[in-house]
Amino acid sequence: MRPRLTGLAAWWVQRASAVCMLLFIIFALAAFALYPRHSYLEWRSWAGSPGVALAILAFFAALLLHMWVGLRDVLLDYAKPAGLRRLLLGGVAGALFGIAVWVVLILARLQT
């Protein structure tokens, strides 16, 4: 089985996603430090604003891609039997997809 996101593409994705995550973390920390939010409603209103929701979505997209490249590398090293490797890769892909759907649902609910 030849994984698709490999070699130079995976190397770029890992670095670009790390930069995306770093930018969001700096943005979030600055937002928390400059405008402290003390109640659930304030938090909800902040996270639900379109710009921040888009940034959160980009952060999780970068995080999940980063996790996929990293976890897949670990499995390629340690899970040698092809069947076991496919099973574990499928499990990781399923879990990451589940997290992605969950994030989208939460952000969509914040818009209502």
């Binding site: 030849r2 994984p3 490999t6 070699g7 130079l8 995976a10 190397w11 770029w12 590398d73 390629l76 090293d77 340690y78």
Partner: protein
């Protein structure tokens, strides 16, 4: 000095075991290899490779107190006792401290370790500017002792697919040589495969244990940047004072 040395004779032993030795040091026992050579006079079944005894040939690479190094440049005065000596980790053991380096040299051979240049030869030699020559610094000094590849977890898991730090620092040496004309083929060969170059996880054990103070991890990063067409620092690779086993 107390030593525990890994012994294995495939004709008698099912698996390697540690044999304990005790030997009185004499004034000429400066390096660990001096002690091993005197031990071999007492027990001529003890087997290990050695040749130049001055850190140039790389034959006596072994795992000393958990760290790969060359016995001939490891000072006895710096070693904790008992000194535990094992063969290079991750390599098949032939006998005692002898390891089978076939796979290691297959990976080395796979990077085409020679200049490829079909241009008509000049009257004397192919010249380089000092700046072009500087690019080879930190790579040409590699003696292929295998300390780095043998201490690299990525190489342990995929020795047949991942070229390993020793092969890749040699690949760097030819990719960045101004006289070589096969740069594109070399980059395609390494970059077009998910394992050969990209299995390096930047663990950096290679730089940590290199007895010459080289940093193969920097060579690997430079090759990746070259494939990605990102400018690379022009002055060769970083080096550091080498650390010996203690």
């Amino acid at each position: 000095m107390k030593l525990s040395i890994s012994r294995y004779n495939p004709e008698h032993d099912e698996q390697p075991y540690l044999q304990h030795y005790e030997i009185d040091l004499v004034a000429s026992d400066h390096m660990l290899l001096d002690v091993l050579l005197r031990l071999k006079q007492q027990d001529n079944t003890l087997s290990f490779r050695r040749s130049c005894r001055e850190g140039v040939c790389g034959s006596d690479a072994m795992n000393i107190n958990g760290r790969n190094g060359l016995a001939c440049i490891t000072r006895t005065s710096a070693l904790r006792e008992p000194v535990v000596i094992r063969p290079l980790p991750g390599f098949p053991i032939i006998r005692d401290l002898f390891v089978d380096m076939t796979q290691f040299f297959k990976q080395y051979e796979s990077i085409t370790p020679y200049l490829v240049n079909d241009d008509s030869p000049p009257e004397k030699e192919r010249l380089q500017t000092p700046a072009e020559r500087d690019k080879l610094n930190g790579a040409y000094e590699c003696i292929l002792c295998a300390c780095c590849s043998s201490q690299c977890p990525s190489y342990w898991w995929n020795p047949d697919k991942f070229v390993g730090p020793a092969g890749l620092i040699q690949a760097y040496r030819f990719i960045f040589d101004s006289r070589d004309r096969a740069t594109a083929q070399r980059l395609d060969d390494l970059g077009g495969d998910p394992y050969r170059l990209f299995r390096c996880r930047t663990i950096m054990n290679c730089a940590e244990v290199c007895p010459k103070g080289l940093e193969p991890v920097r060579a690997i990063e430079a090759i990746r940047l070259k494939i990605a067409q990102v400018p690379v620092h022009p002055g060769g690779l970083d080096m550091h004072p080498p650390k010996s086993p203690t």
